[in-house]
Amino acid sequence: MVNVLNAARELMYREALNEALKEEMDRDDKVFIMGEGIAERGGSYKVTEGLLEQFGSKRVFDTPISENGFTGAGVGAALTGMRPVVEILFVDFTMLILDQLINQAAKFRFMSGNTARVPMVLRTQGGVGNGLAAQHSQSLEAIFYHIPGLKLVMPSTPFDAKGLLKAAIRCDDPVIFIEHKLLYMNKGEVPEEEYIIPLGQADIKKEGKDLTIIAWSGMVPKVMEAAEILMKEGINAEVIDPRSLVPLDKMTIINSVKKTEHVLIVQEAVRRGGVGSDISSIIQEEAFDYLDSPVKILGGLNIPCPFNLNLEKMVVPQVEDIVRAAKEVVYSE
């Protein structure tokens, strides 16, 4: 677990992200940001507030609604020495830019025989919440996870969000940085001093011995709640947040599995073909003999997200579902 240094200050997730951008833009004048409504308006979730004032309209500016075009512009700027941070309002809209991410950004370094680099961060936001319905509620990290050449980061706390965004901006490869729409107002400790969280280091959000629960992004707070309930019922869960899915900190996961011998993976994305399946397959290949029961994946239903709020709750794992699934895993023997 990365130290929270001598922190005292509490920030919201969105404020932590804002600080990361500010610090990195201050440090390196090659860093600039663009996206829809990010300048004067400060972004839909206020992550970019105040940056226009501080850094001016050459480095903080709004884009037309041309997601594919301006993402490609980010790639081109990155290829020629800049460090763009491109914002796409919803991860759902990244479906318009995958040519630039998958066929271009992810491939240049390799196709050029290591002579080109694309140090770009693609910030976006996903997950279910507040009745935004089928086209604004997806969790699509599995798509990026599958593509060699892309890094993939999904922070769950203000502390992680800041440290990882700074690392992402300094990374020389394209990083897909996915925030969660329900986390922006969450508060947490963030030190005043500068810190960076290297990509590829999982965080043990809670130590435990009876089962390993792996979760990321918006599922982490729910899993932490469930872990408290489980504790009262005599099950001491270890909660692991990989924080970056690519690179994935397999070691921390495997070590935990060896200790607890039971695994539950909780993902908000639909169950079929999610990142959880891959983590399950890795655990299985690398720690088969330690497993006391099958790795269980609790995922979203295989269906688009409904508009109606009561039904919306049914499609992604809730605290009670996590508690139930954890018990199934532990008592399955």
Binding site: I65, L96, A133, A134, H136, N308
Partner: protein, 321 residues
Amino acid sequence: MKKNTEDFLVSLYTTMYKIRNFEEQAIKLYRQGHIRGYFHPYLGEEAIATGVCAAMDGKDYITSTHRGHGHCLAWGADLKIMFAELLGKENGYCKGLGGSMHIADYTKNNLGANGIVGSGVPIAVGAALGISIRKEKQMVSTFVSDGGSNIGSFLEGLNLAAAWKLPVLFVIENNQYAVSTRIEDSTAETELYKRGIGFGLESVRLDGNDVLEVHKIAKSFIERCKNGEGPFLMECVTFRKSGHHVNDPGLYLPKEKVDYYKLHDPLLIGKKHLIELAGLSEIDIVEIEKVAMAEIKAAIDFAIKSPEMSEENFLKFVEEY
């Protein structure tokens, strides 16, 4: 003034009035917590959907945008079922699964609002392609705003429709803003009809707040579409009478523009038509408005009282996936 002109002008005005008040009532419901999620009011742009749809017939098709209530109503939607959808009820147009951004009526050729800016355009082109393959006398109108006119989906769609000579009417609702982004900041050529010309479409720019002007031009283009002369593009200049969505106060909208469009309101212009061209009195108009308002109130009642889909019914949907 002939009787049918009067009827026609009354029906245009009634539609615009219903859209205006549907939105205003729905905003109240939103504030009361009855409606959730995204809600983009069509306030101030009523003349466009009204003028265009009045020139189409029920066998034609429309595709709409994220700001889709106006198109839906102008197309003839039932107020009750619309409110029910916005409230997430099972008897709504999409059983409460779609909501404001996805409202549609496939049984009546309304191919729906769309949460992805521009993505309705290729879909409209495809509906027209089907028409052309079947050799039918139908056409498709597709709506998009200034912001959406910068996205590949729209631009590719323009070219495809023109290359394939399809019966599509592209309607740009140029309200000069995409959320808070001014049109001057998103393009170097703010006269958007010129894009149509670049792809070989006959294209015009007009006052989108004057329902009669919109209707006149739409009518001619729509007829010509059905005669195989399509596609066409009309850029209707207009302005949002509110923020981008229900929670946006729109403080970035410049006062002069807001003031200008307060006077140049589509409903005021529609009223003027009623008085000057159809000879109606203010009292006649109040009467028309009363009837419409009563219908709206009854629809709200209906929607509030309607049930949501049960978890059981929802799980049946899930099984099919």
